[in-house]
Symmetry: D2
Subunit: 434 residues, 4 copies
Amino acid sequence: MSQTSRDDRLVSLRRDLHRQPEPAWREFYTTARIIEEVERIGVDELYVGEDALSGEDRLAVPPDAEIDEWFERAQTLLAEQEGSDPEIIEPMRGGYTGAVAVLDRGEGPTVGLRVDIDGLPRPESDDPEHVPAAEGFRSETGAMHACGHDAHATIGIGVLEAIVDSDFAGTFKLFFQPAEEVIGGGSAMAQSRHIEDIDYLLAAHIGLNHPTGEIVAGIGEFLAVTQLEIEFEGESAHAGAQPQIGKNANQALAAAVQNLYGIPRHEKGGTRVNAGVIEGGTASNIVAEQARVEGEVRGDTTALRDYMLDRAHDVVEGAATMHGCEGHIEEGASAPSAESDAEIADTVAEVATSVEAVDSILEYDALGGSEDATYLMKAVQDRGGKACYVGIGTDHPGGHHTATFDVDEASLPIGVDVLSGAIRRLSESGHRTN
Amino acid sequence: MSQTSRDDRLVSLRRDLHRQPEPAWREFYTTARIIEEVERIGVDELYVGEDALSGEDRLAVPPDAEIDEWFERAQTLLAEQEGSDPEIIEPMRGGYTGAVAVLDRGEGPTVGLRVDIDGLPRPESDDPEHVPAAEGFRSETGAMHACGHDAHATIGIGVLEAIVDSDFAGTFKLFFQPAEEVIGGGSAMAQSRHIEDIDYLLAAHIGLNHPTGEIVAGIGEFLAVTQLEIEFEGESAHAGAQPQIGKNANQALAAAVQNLYGIPRHEKGGTRVNAGVIEGGTASNIVAEQARVEGEVRGDTTALRDYMLDRAHDVVEGAATMHGCEGHIEEGASAPSAESDAEIADTVAEVATSVEAVDSILEYDALGGSEDATYLMKAVQDRGGKACYVGIGTDHPGGHHTATFDVDEASLPIGVDVLSGAIRRLSESGHRTN
Amino acid sequence: MSQTSRDDRLVSLRRDLHRQPEPAWREFYTTARIIEEVERIGVDELYVGEDALSGEDRLAVPPDAEIDEWFERAQTLLAEQEGSDPEIIEPMRGGYTGAVAVLDRGEGPTVGLRVDIDGLPRPESDDPEHVPAAEGFRSETGAMHACGHDAHATIGIGVLEAIVDSDFAGTFKLFFQPAEEVIGGGSAMAQSRHIEDIDYLLAAHIGLNHPTGEIVAGIGEFLAVTQLEIEFEGESAHAGAQPQIGKNANQALAAAVQNLYGIPRHEKGGTRVNAGVIEGGTASNIVAEQARVEGEVRGDTTALRDYMLDRAHDVVEGAATMHGCEGHIEEGASAPSAESDAEIADTVAEVATSVEAVDSILEYDALGGSEDATYLMKAVQDRGGKACYVGIGTDHPGGHHTATFDVDEASLPIGVDVLSGAIRRLSESGHRTN
Amino acid sequence: MSQTSRDDRLVSLRRDLHRQPEPAWREFYTTARIIEEVERIGVDELYVGEDALSGEDRLAVPPDAEIDEWFERAQTLLAEQEGSDPEIIEPMRGGYTGAVAVLDRGEGPTVGLRVDIDGLPRPESDDPEHVPAAEGFRSETGAMHACGHDAHATIGIGVLEAIVDSDFAGTFKLFFQPAEEVIGGGSAMAQSRHIEDIDYLLAAHIGLNHPTGEIVAGIGEFLAVTQLEIEFEGESAHAGAQPQIGKNANQALAAAVQNLYGIPRHEKGGTRVNAGVIEGGTASNIVAEQARVEGEVRGDTTALRDYMLDRAHDVVEGAATMHGCEGHIEEGASAPSAESDAEIADTVAEVATSVEAVDSILEYDALGGSEDATYLMKAVQDRGGKACYVGIGTDHPGGHHTATFDVDEASLPIGVDVLSGAIRRLSESGHRTN
């Protein structure tokens, strides 16, 4: 296959996925397209649905009704699409998205690559300067690939193709992980049996403010994170006639939001807090009876994250008390922090020097964010394997998670070349000894 | 017709309406049921849709998609219901709900009665102590008749029946007004030609913390009100990786809500403010780009309401500035304040003394809330007619607008007797002279 | 004595007092000047210090050190002033300010007049448009007569002089009450024996947005009020090095202030809340360990004031909890609401018609504020006497309690004439019968 | 001199200073005691007042009245103290505290040591477990040595004595810097001529959570800091009678404080914000016309500090707008960040190994706070000299700046030995060559 036709195919797949972003545990169309590509390439084993991950360890799973809505949407779309089979997503019914593909190439180490595939629940820019808008592959779902997971899935397919065509010896496992954005899928894949025999695990992320042509061989300092579901329960009242009998959940929420962001900074390192989604009340003339926040706290370390959690509980309790409401925090999905192993990072850096389009290599960078790849990395490292999180630079006009985020598609083949090169090099280093 | 069968029918109609509460401009089933009843009774003229009110003067109309959804719901319901015709709601398509029925009984004054018919967008209690839950007529729509408009529509039908059966001389017009809760329908009906020749207008409300058997002959001191749609526009960012590039619309909203409620009290009289509905942001890990509030301000007088409005603008502008956002208030529907004319109130009080089930009569009470009946009252009063707002006491376990609001159905015939008695008595007093 | 020399003397006394405003329980110079004037006029009995009021019933007494500082200031001032004797204030040492003067004129009713004498702890404007600044009698103490109590004391002296010169029959008691602004002196005077035999009590206030020449014969609807001393106790920390170990009392205070003003309005009538004085922390780089608020809540009725109190306790508790602090409200001085008796008001109105400079008489007005004269009024009324609070209009450029408040000195003789006229007229009506 | 008597003298001096803490630019007694000690030891030159620092470069100087009050206090104290001369502080009148002592020991490098001497404006614990309380040397001034500057001054004296007694060759300059806590004195000393010829500069701090016996050879990562004086100007009103005409500066302040702490964290590193001192309003029943905050912002870098500053301006402007007030930030004293030179740090570490009581040596630590020693360090480094900030561990029960901070006096001789040893060692390394 010529390089050009390979690159065109990567672009084409990425744009197809970009047009159909699906949020966490609803990546039905996305997984279907991945399966189609994997089957086109051919592998030894392909696991889908509950065979791919531990169903009961899924975190942050949305209500059934929402899952079903997206399921039906994907079915309709696949039915309309020539060459696609709507039946392909049957095993995923109920939100068991994602897949694991396995290549068995005889004696040699087991090397894994994890890519994530979900979109974000936010609208995409329709600014004519925004390339997906200008070139006709803007989101059609209301959600958005605003963090490049469309590129991740595409690079995964590209790597698989490259490994198939190579002299790789050993076992290669490719994890298409759902629900990263809600920190929901990493745990479930880390608990699956597929992770158990991995000697070397690679994970990758595009962008992160690194330009096209730059590779970060090993990324670390992942922030520990816990998601929060905060609820206030008050009492409603007619806002005009009897405001004094109300216990205003919206006032409690506002006080809480103001003071959550005001939790003191910590000497030991970075902390984060976000009240990302707020909603409360039912009508302009009713004192709000209920209000809720979807938020999160993070820390450079687990201890710092826990400090934020403790303080958040105080804030919510106090805010509720101020307005005679009940306040409650449900702690949701969380991910640990992690570090990349230098052994793999060195290999990545070495390989990157031989990839022509790479013009800058950083040996190490801090993430300053969270990632549930850390669940898989820890699972591998705890069993004596090595893990490494690689950054693939891409020029991105808007920041991650914003309406104008986009990737420079020239970075897709770079990602494929660096990762597949590293995987092949690692296969030469043999089994781990412990 | 025996009194008992009349009372049973009132209860039956009220429960039917209670089971199908529809919010503002979506009262399709409700209006259909009203039409059925009116046609059963028989009137000289019946106006529906744009014939009943001034379409362009409708305020606070929801998005088409929401209107259509409720329209389809009502169609389905009517199609399933024996004896009903789904076609009946065709003229209301697009949100032209409500109706005006006219009885022409020869020489005499034109007397109007206005009742409102919409429900509230809030869930109803499923507590087994809550009578509608216990007796099986709890809301099936997700909305709730939490302010007794089901009783109002029912009383309107009862009054029509009573007038038809009486020696009433003159013209009787019965206004079934939609969208009171959003202050949306009063203006539209006040601008219709039907209001122009009214000599005497009655409007009525059930409950208002008055017990069953108590009548308030004339209610006044309606609070002036303006609804607010507040929007904050910021910039999104990844909450973990780059919180500093965000302009947090949720923080701006929280600051605004805190300080809206803190607008200083006013020496000249009562004021109100409510941030009834809040929502903002798209995901727990994204700094919120947009947030909005549906709220309202009120005042004992228009000047006091305007004072609140002025201060609210300062609060929103300042809250936005604090977080680098744009803030904007769209002033929505508003209603003036009004007073009841003593001439009608005296008649109501007089009639009430002769209604057996009435055991307490208040000549006057202040509402302490707002009502867009004031638009119709002002329209009549400005042309030299008289208007009066009557309170029909009912034992209600929960407060107005709360999940456990309910009416004592014994108050339905009381309302019918007092109002129809007053309307007949007014017909005897002849045309107004001016 | 000619009218002109009388008026000049009133102006001169008022300006002397205006130049030396002294806050609550520190009215040493003021009381001394009053005593001098009373002694010049001559009375039968004069009570000062603990003989004038019930020392243990004084409310809102400041710390000894502050009292002593003002005591010394007054001593120095009196020592420097020709004809004054610093020893005159000895009985007031420790904050027992105020005086009661008694004229015994034989058979007849006992009529009282209460005037208050304290200044406010706020700076006075130095704007050249501000008359006291322009004409050289601006405050020299840092405090300010921003509510006209300088005029009240002066009118009291004028009335005494007028009664002495008249045919008044009975007993006249003149109460110079300290500490009205902190609601501190009314209770103490109401508990003294001097109030016990009063048949008719008058109290008066200048201004209140009524112009010169207008008299309000009876004022009512005093707001009930309770003063609050709110304290937050947290933990200090170095704000740069270890912010996380701090429990920030200033953050708690800010949350409390925001939410105190946000206590919901009440359907039953007017409420007020004010966080008038705030202070917290010790240095810019220390997390504040302590913070406090001097505030107040009011209500049209005692029940409304209590509603505000209850909610304020929730707010303070919640605000403290949010930031890991201890929060506490100490309820301070409070005053009841009260009404004027029409019997006296009618007399005042009648007399006022005969005072040439009076060009407008209101029979009644609502205060919309609080006053601890209500303690004395209630004490008299509870024993069967009558009480009335009279408004003496004056053109005042700035609002009460603001830096540019001032009185039109033309209103001083009007006040003297109306009040002394009413007192004489009341003496003619004989003893109360009960 | 025996070691023991030396140690006793250090303790005695430290306790004397501890008992008389004086805040910034008011260190009159403290400087007097330092001068007495320096003169006892004997030096070649001693500079005091404007000869010691650049008077016009003093930052954060308090009002004259406060300075004078402390000046008089110190005069009285010195007059009462046997062997002291109140005249000694004359050159410091007006707030020119601090001193520079110079030893000229012939050929050799110029080595400087800077110690700071001011206390904090906060009360000291009177808990009997607090050693200064238990052993009778608790603060008598209302301020507190809550950051160990009493120990710093004492160690400075101890070092001077040690150098005098040694074979040190070159020039030794000892800077007793005032006003560190308000970032006020570093700039003034850095602008004086005394700093110009320094080859090696040492500065030192005790504690910082390092235990007795631990030395940190070089401290870096000083936070850049800027102090803020925030003012809100509104309009006063009577809080009961006319709350609506007020523009409440206390409400504006509360909104600002809430939102200052809520300025978003930054991906690039640590930030800090503190509203350390707040005050506003004049009386509980007056709407506050003025309110102010003394605060600060910090950042790991100047850029981060400036980010906080920018955001703080938005917050203050917005908070003022919300309540119709004027808001203003006056940027006060600020200090840059700085790093220690490894060359000196290595010497310190080397020397420390030979000090018996030292049992732990850290080569480097981050401060995580700010220090205006950075002004002097930068002044030296910019001219080609070297600078180093040394940590002297001490067991301290309470955190820095808290009421129970105290130092383990066993650390005093350790500090003296390590610093004097390093100064002697540096003198051996000769002049700098550039």
